[in-house]
Symmetry: C2
């Protein structure tokens, strides 16, 4: 299935404004009228792109997920970080990361009762799992039991993200990163032990 | 700080109905009128307990968190499971567990923009961390670096729960439990390695 991304530039610009508003004020408070005012368009133009609040929320969610993917791709292309550290882009380490998570928070309750939104969410969740899978493979090409380890890595990242969002004072970026690196090294240490066990066994 | 729990029986019974409705239909669809109809009270009685939707949501959240705590306590009192397995009660393994998580999902977006709700949430999050801490200590009395490991354990549990909720077909109870046990054994294996390293070092 192709990624559910928006390519139209104007649509993306409006989705970005919607994502900011939803993250900052919550879905209730983020109105199409406000999005239009900030974007400098009439509400007619905005409703041409997003007919209603649900469509606006979906676009904001997609924008947040797609932006995270693009940040990951940039790191990967530039080889700007080791494969495991690249996954840190999934954490709420900076304003951009926090914005994405706060949009997810607003999206989930509706997705929990809306099959189409739930499908979109599963797509991005599967995508995050594949990022974890490929990062672990790159970090340790001989890795075994990759499906389980990728799921454990993603669980750790999601759990760290949630704790950081609930309690930002106690979870600065450095602590989130330490926790993720500790988790990643546990997953790879298990690998080393298994491998050395096989060798000596 | 004492736990934010409701002791009034009638209030709890109504909160339970609210939690069910919120989990099944979402916060938007769960009205005070419906809660009253199911409870068999007038809306006047219900609004005596919960003046508005926000108060109803808080009561439902508190009920879900408190119920989870009570289930944990029962397991602990009966020594019905080893300490690490007791933490599985935090996962969405059955209807009761899924209900709790679906209420949390509805609660978070509002808590993200409401300091009092956020405070309540932090209380329960700290409480979950202390359950993880004490379970790890019981499972391995000589454990070191307990704060970090408890946070990693809780991250894993929260991440597993989220993946299971997003994709229930691929995450039956057995897979959630396997994943948690694998994570717990990684945390304790690190301990064993450190300890044996210290002995031989």
């Amino acid at each position: 299935m192709p990624p559910p991304v928006d390519h139209d530039e104007k649509r993306r610009a409006i989705a970005r404004i919607a994502a900011d508003l939803i993250a900052e004020r919550g879905l209730e408070a983020a109105t199409i009228r406000q999005v239009a005012a900030i974007a400098g368009y009439s509400t007619t133009v905005v409703t041409h792109y997003f007919a209603n609040k649900r469509a606006m929320l979906l676009a904001a969610y997609r924008h947040a997920a797609q932006s995270t993917q693009e940040r990951f791709d940039k790191l990967a292309e530039a080889c700007a970080a080791d494969p495991l550290s690249r996954l840190e882009i999934l954490l709420p380490l900076d304003d951009e990361g926090r914005r994405a998570w706060r949009v997810y928070f607003q999206f989930w309750p509706m997705a929990d009762h809306d099959p189409e939104l739930a499908e979109e969410q599963r797509w991005w969740s599967a995508n995050a799992l594949s990022l974890a899978r490929s990062a672990l493979c790159q970090a340790y090409p001989a890795i075994d039991d990759i499906e389980r380890k990728a799921a454990m890595a993603l669980s750790a990242l999601q759990g760290i993200a949630m704790q950081a969002l609930f309690d930002p004072e106690n979870w600065p970026a450095s602590r989130q990163q330490d926790m993720w690196q500790a988790q990643a090294s546990l997953l790879l240490k298990e690998q080393n032990m298994t491998t050395s066990g096989e060798r000596t066994g």
